[in-house]
C-alpha cells in the first residue's frame, strides 16, 4: 500500500473498458503522474463499495474563515481500511455564468487545485458548481484563499442560496430573450451573503434560461426559475417560411409544425399550403421556432417570466416551478434591481414562514397561493394558473349589505 503504486481495483477495472471516457482511467492516470495517495485511497474505498454495494462516507463540518457553507466534508467510515481516504472534502466553486472559461483562468484553477488537493474535479455539479473533490481540512483555507485572490468564490451548500446556473444564452444562442449570463452574475453576487452563511429554512436555487426551451432545467431544478420570453409577435421571415414549405412540403408542415403547436395557434391558410400564426394564442413554447430556425425568431419586446417553487420530490413529490410573474422586462441594471427587490421580499416571507427544511414551493402550496401573493405584494393574474379553481371551497369577504 505504501508503495508508489496503485492497489488492485478488480471491481472497478471493467469500467476502464468501452468507448466512453473512463473516470477510473482518469483517476489512475492522475495517480500515476502525481502519486497523490488520496487518489489511491479513494479508488480503494470505491472498489470496496463496488464489492459490498454500500457507501462509506460520512459528513462532518469543514469550512473557511467567515463562511458557514460551501465545503462538503467527507470522512471515511472505514479509515482503518483506507487511511489514505480518511478525508476527502469537496470545495464548491462558483464558475463563470454559462460555464465559459478562458484557458488562462482555468489553468490557474487547475494549478492551485493540484497544489492543495487531489486533482479530481467534478466538472460540473448538477447545481452548477465547479467541484474540487478531495481536499483535507488542513489545506482548505489556503486553497480557498489562493482561488479567491483570482476572483473565485465558494458556492452554496446547506440552508443557503445556492450557486446559480444559466444557459449559454446570448453568448451563442439566437433564442436568448434576455442576458442570462449578466443576470446570473448580478443576482448571485447580490445574494453572496446568503450563499455563504446558512440563514434560511432550507436551500434556495436560481437558474436562468434564455427561452422556454429551458436548457438550464430551471423549471424543475430551481426555486426561482427565470425563463426568457417575449410579448409581441414572433418575427417572421416570409421568404424563409416559403422556402421551408417548398422544401419540406405540406405534409411535413402539417405533421411537424401545425399539429405540434400546443394551442393550435398556427392555422393552415385557405390555400392549403401556407400558414398564419395567431400570436395571441401562442404560448411561446418555442417549438415552431426550433423547427424553422431560419424563418422564425422570438419577438422584439423581450423579457423574463419568473416561475417559483421548482424542486425535487422531498416530501411532496416533484415540483415544477409555477408562474409568479408572467413578464418583466430585463434590459438594464434597473430591471435587474427590480427583480432582486422582488426576490428579496419572497425570500423574506419564506424565511419567516417556512417550516424547517421546507422549500418555497412547498410553503406556497401549504399556505396557499393567495396568501403568498398578498404577502409579497403581487396581484393575482390568470397566467399564474392553468385554470381558475374548479371547486367552490373558498370564502370571499362578505359584501357589505344594507
Amino acid at each position: 500500500m505504501a508503495e508508489n503504486k496503485l492497489n488492485p481495483t478488480p471491481n472497478l477495472d471493467t469500467l476502464e473498458e468501452g468507448p466512453w471516457p473512463s473516470f477510473i482511467s482518469g483517476f489512475k492516470e492522475l495517480y500515476n503522474r502525481t502519486g497523490n495517495t488520496m487518489v489511491r485511497g479513494v479508488l480503494d474505498q470505491l472498489n470496496y463499495s463496488y464489492e459490498t454495494r454500500m457507501g462509506y462516507w460520512k459528513g462532518g463540518v469543514v469550512g473557511v474563515h467567515g463562511y458557514g457553507a460551501g465545503i462538503i466534508s467527507r470522512y471515511s467510515m472505514v479509515p482503518e481500511l483506507f487511511p489514505e481516504a480518511k478525508e476527502f472534502h469537496t470545495m464548491r466553486i462558483q464558475p463563470p455564468p454559462g460555464l465559459h472559461y478562458s484557458t488562462k483562468a482555468l489553468r490557474e484553477v487547475l494549478d492551485i487545485w493540484e497544489k492543495h488537493g487531489s486533482g479530481i474535479i467534478s466538472m460540473h455539479g448538477q447545481t452548477g458548481n465547479l467541484q474540487l473533490q478531495g481536499v483535507v481540512q488542513a489545506n482548505v483555507q489556503e486553497l480557498f484563499d489562493d482561488l479567491n485572490k483570482l476572483g473565485w468564490d465558494l458556492g452554496g451548500a446547506g440552508a443557503t442560496v445556492r450557486t446559480g446556473a444559466s444557459c449559454v444564452g446570448p453568448a451563442r444562442c439566437e433564442m436568448a430573450c434576455y442576458d442570462t449570463l449578466k443576470m446570473h452574475e448580478k443576482v448571485l453576487k447580490y445574494f453572496a451573503d446568503l450563499t455563504h452563511r446558512p440563514q434560511l429554512p432550507y436551500k434556495a436555487k436560481f437558474k436562468f434560461s434564455g427561452c422556454g426551451n429551458d436548457c438550464a432545467n430551471a423549471i424543475q431544478r430551481s426555486d426561482y426559475a427565470v425563463i426568457g420570453t417575449w410579448k409581441d409577435e414572433i418575427q417572421v421571415d416570409e421568404a424563409e417560411v416559403a422556402k421551408f414549405i417548398e422544401t419540406r412540403g405540406v405534409a411535413y408542415l402539417t405533421n411537424n409544425v401545425i399539429t405540434r403547436c400546443p394551442t393550435n395557434a398556427i392555422v393552415m391558410n385557405e390555400d392549403g399550403k401556407s400558414i398564419t400564426i395567431n400570436n395571441s394564442d401562442c404560448v411561446r413554447c418555442m417549438h415552431c421556432l426550433n423547427v424553422m430556425t431560419k424563418a422564425l425568431s422570438p419577438g422584439k419586446e423581450r423579457g423574463i417570466a419568473l416561475l417559483v417553487g421548482g424542486k425535487g420530490h422531498l416530501k411532496v413529490g416533484n415540483m415544477l416551478g409555477s408562474v409568479m410573474v408572467p413578464f418583466m422586462k430585463m434590459e438594464d441594471e434597473d430591471d435587474i434591481e427590480a427583480f432582486i427587490d422582488m426576490i428579496d421580499s419572497m425570500i423574506d416571507y419564506w424565511a419567516e414562514n417556512a417550516l424547517d427544511h421546507e422549500r418555497v414551493g412547498e410553503t406556497i402550496e401549504r399556505v396557499g397561493m393567495q396568501q403568498f401573493l398578498d404577502a409579497v405584494g403581487l396581484e393575482a393574474n390568470p397566467d399564474m394558473v392553468i385554470q381558475p379553481r374548479d371547486n367552490p371551497y373558498f370564502k370571499a369577504p362578505y359584501e357589505k349589505v344594507g
Binding site: 395571441s280 413554447c285 393567495q370 393575482a380 393574474n381 390568470p382 394558473v385 374548479d390
Partner: protein, 357 residues
C-alpha cells in the same frame, strides 16, 4: 291501517321496447349517419335504407299534465303516438314521414315549444328544484332558467355557436345541475348561523360535524345543552352542513350570492372531460330576473360566439385563447379567490412558461 291487498311488483325502470316507434324498432342499432336539414331537425338514415326525421323542441321541464297531454296530442297526430324527452328536458318527436316535419314544427311552436336545440345551438338549460321544492335552496332554479332562456331564445333556434352550448343552474352549492359549459350556482359568503333552538332535536350531531370539509364544526354547549359551533375563520361557507342539519342556517337573502362557472365538459370529444371553473362570484340573487347574472352570461356567450373556432366548446375556447384573454374579452375581473387553494390546488398552478401575451 287497513290490510294491504295489492302486492307491489318491484320492477325497476319501466321497459322501453314497447315505447319505441315501429320504425325505430325496425332500425334499432342500424343507423348509418345523420345530418341536420335545418336547426331543430335531425335526419337519421339507416343501413336498411329507412329514414327518420326528429323535431326537437324546448319545454320548461316543470310541466303539468296539461302540457304533457298537449305534447301527446301532437305525437299522436304526427308521430304515430311516440315521443321522447332528452336528458336536457327537450322533447323529441320522430317521424318516418318527411312530409310530417313542417306541420310538426308548426304544431310544436303553436303550442309554445320553440323548435331548436340541435347541433351548435344553445340547448335547454339544465335545472334543479329551487324554491319550488328543495329544502336547502338559496335561490330558485326554474326562474333563473326562464330568465336566461328568454334571452338566448334565438340562439336556441339557430345553430350559430362554435359548438353545442350546455347551460345549467343550481340553487345551492351542491350543484345538482351538474357541470356545464356555463353554469350559474349559488355561492355563500357567510358562515352558517346556528339555530340552537332546533339543532339538538333535528340534527344528528356527529354526522353534521363529519360533513364539514374543513373541520370547522365543533361540539359545544349552549345554555347548558349540547349543540354545535362553527369556527368562522376556518369555515369556507360551502353550506354542506346545511344539507345534513337544517339548523346550520347558511341561506341568506343577501349573503347568499350567485357565481358563474364555465368550461365544464363531460364529453370525451377532443380534449378530456374537464371540470367547470369559477369565473365570477358575488353576484346578487336578484329575483325574478337576475339581471346582473344574465348580463354576464350573455357577455360570455357573445365572446364565445365571436372568438370560438368551429367545434370548440366553451372551455376549449378559453383554453386556446388562454384564461387571461378570457377575462379580457368578457370584461370579468379575475381575482385571487379564483386561484385554487383546496386539496389539489398545486395541479392548477401554471407549472410552465406557457404564457400568452
Amino acid at each position: 291501517m287497513a290490510k294491504r291487498e295489492y302486492q307491489t311488483v318491484e320492477s325497476g325502470p319501466h321497459t322501453y321496447w314497447d315505447m319505441l316507434h315501429p320504425t325505430i324498432q325496425k332500425n334499432y342499432g342500424q343507423w348509418k349517419y345523420h345530418d341536420r336539414p335545418r336547426p331543430g331537425v335531425l335526419h337519421h338514415v339507416s343501413h336498411t335504407g329507412d329514414e327518420v326525421w326528429t323535431v326537437k323542441a324546448g319545454t320548461h321541464r316543470q310541466v303539468t299534465v296539461d302540457i304533457a297531454r298537449r305534447l301527446c296530442d301532437i305525437a299522436d297526430t304526427y308521430c304515430d303516438g311516440f315521443l321522447r324527452w332528452t336528458v336536457r328536458n327537450n322533447v323529441e318527436m320522430t317521424t318516418d314521414k318527411e312530409a310530417n316535419v313542417e306541420p310538426l314544427i308548426k304544431a310544436l311552436e303553436a303550442a309554445g315549444h320553440p323548435v331548436g336545440g340541435t347541433g351548435n345551438s344553445i340547448t335547454s338549460m339544465a335545472h334543479t328544484q329551487g324554491w319550488l321544492h328543495c329544502d336547502i335552496p338559496a335561490t330558485d332554479a326554474s326562474g333563473v332558467v326562464k330568465s336566461i332562456m328568454d334571452l338566448v331564445y334565438d340562439e336556441f333556434k339557430r345553430e350559430e355557436m362554435p359548438n353545442r352550448v350546455k347551460l345549467s343552474t343550481s340553487c345551492c352549492e351542491i350543484n345538482c345541475g351538474g357541470q356545464a359549459d356555463i353554469a350559474i350556482v349559488v355561492q355563500h359568503t357567510r358562515p352558517p348561523r346556528i339555530n340552537h333552538d332546533i339543532l339538538a332535536s333535528t340534527c344528528e350531531m356527529p354526522s353534521t360535524v363529519a360533513r364539514c370539509p374543513v373541520a370547522a364544526i365543533r361540539p359545544t354547549k349552549v345554555n347548558g345543552k349540547p349543540s354545535l359551533m362553527v369556527v368562522e375563520e376556518k369555515c369556507i361557507c360551502c353550506g354542506a352542513c346545511f344539507g345534513a342539519c337544517p339548523a346550520m342556517e347558511i341561506n341568506h337573502p343577501e349573503y347568499s350570492k350567485l357565481a358563474i362557472w364555465i368550461g365544464g365538459k363531460n364529453a370525451n370529444t377532443r380534449s378530456r372531460p374537464t371540470n367547470m371553473k369559477l369565473v365570477a362570484h358575488g353576484l346578487p340573487n336578484n329575483t325574478a330576473r337576475w339581471p346582473e347574472v344574465a348580463e354576464k352570461v350573455l357577455t360570455i356567450i357573445k365572446a364565445y360566439k365571436e372568438g370560438g373556432r368551429d367545434w370548440e366548446r366553451v372551455g376549449e375556447w378559453a383554453e386556446r385563447i388562454g384564461w387571461k384573454k378570457f377575462f379580457e374579452v368578457t370584461g370579468l375581473p379575475f381575482d385571487k379567490y379564483m386561484i385554487d387553494n383546496y386539496r389539489h390546488a398545486r395541479n392548477s398552478f401554471n407549472q410552465s412558461a406557457h404564457i400568452r401575451f
